[in-house]
């Protein structure tokens, strides 16, 4: 099997997707840990904390999804 542009694109999609999950993974883990800490400290404020957590999670998760879209473009369009 020759290493042509198509193979390179698929390889890049796989490696890129794998690397792109590292950062958001660390980020969401940190976020969840701090959220549970905050809720444990102040259970009465859990509603507000959860809202902030979901916004933060959405913004963090978006980074991995950008890479996912790029991976899809690499595989199916390029």
């Amino acid at each position: 099997m020759a290493f042509d542009a198509d193979t390179a694109a698929r390889l890049a999609a796989g490696i890129g997707m794998g690397l792109a999950t590292l950062g958001p993974g660390i980020g969401i883990g940190y976020l969840t840990g701090r959220t549970s800490e905050a809720i444990a400290r102040q259970p009465e404020a859990s509603g507000d904390i959860r809202t902030a957590f979901i916004i933060g999670m959405a913004l963090t998760e978006a980074l991995a999804l950008y890479a996912f879209v790029i991976a899809i473009i690499l595989i199916f369009v390029a």
């Binding site: 959405a58 998760e61 999804l65 996912f68 199916f76």
Partner: protein, 268 residues
Amino acid sequence: MLLALAEEAAESKVVGALHELNVQTVISFPKLGPIDLSITNAVIYMWVSAVVVFLFFFIAAKRSKNEPEKLQTTAEIMLNFATGHLTGQIGEKGKKYYYLILTIFAYIFVTNIIGLIPKLEVLKPYTPTANINVTAGMAIVVFLVTQYQGFHRHGVGGYLKSWMTPPGVPKAIGVPLNVIFFPVHLMGEFFKPLSLSVRLFGNTIAGHLIILVMLGLILEFASAIVIIPAALFVIIMTAFEVFVAFIQAYIFSLLSVVYIESAIYAGH
């Protein structure tokens, strides 16, 4: 984008299962130049979800009584959720956007759930939110509302000024720093709808891809070693996707609220 899959479908059953992600034309119309107005399965499922959302609130409103039934209670919970929880941050100034946010929430949730229900091949299954055009359309509406609010409330000068260095910074540093501040804020405004649409699209299509690949594996290797774990995984993943459908609808509407709010109170 996924049309290339259809050509490979004959080769592998895993790729064949991904056929569900292709847009199929149901009723074709002649093209008007570059615009193709054919009715596809994506459009039909969007109509179905819109009708479901409309009928739910319409019937709930028609049948509302002093002693609420199940339907009315559900509709009231959703309305309270939108007016209280979601738009609680906008305050008085954003009151007229309660219904935009509620519609976005209900529509995305219903579309996601309808996409998750297994359907026969005859019905040409498709999830509209797994198409970037649909999510981008909704994100552009939010973007236009945001910019309208910004320019309407603060005037062109006032709104553009809120993208400059914040007040309180000494002029000697603040004015040159605008070279950085203004382009960054300008780009930020355009990245908001981009991230909104890509988030919903990515989450939906990622979940469907995983489920479809697992189903394709079951068809490809018809042996108990593959079928039992794959079937279990599909069941768990589908249950998780129901949760994701709700979370994504919630995040989309919550971030819309945050963006509209940031335009209403720009510069504070």
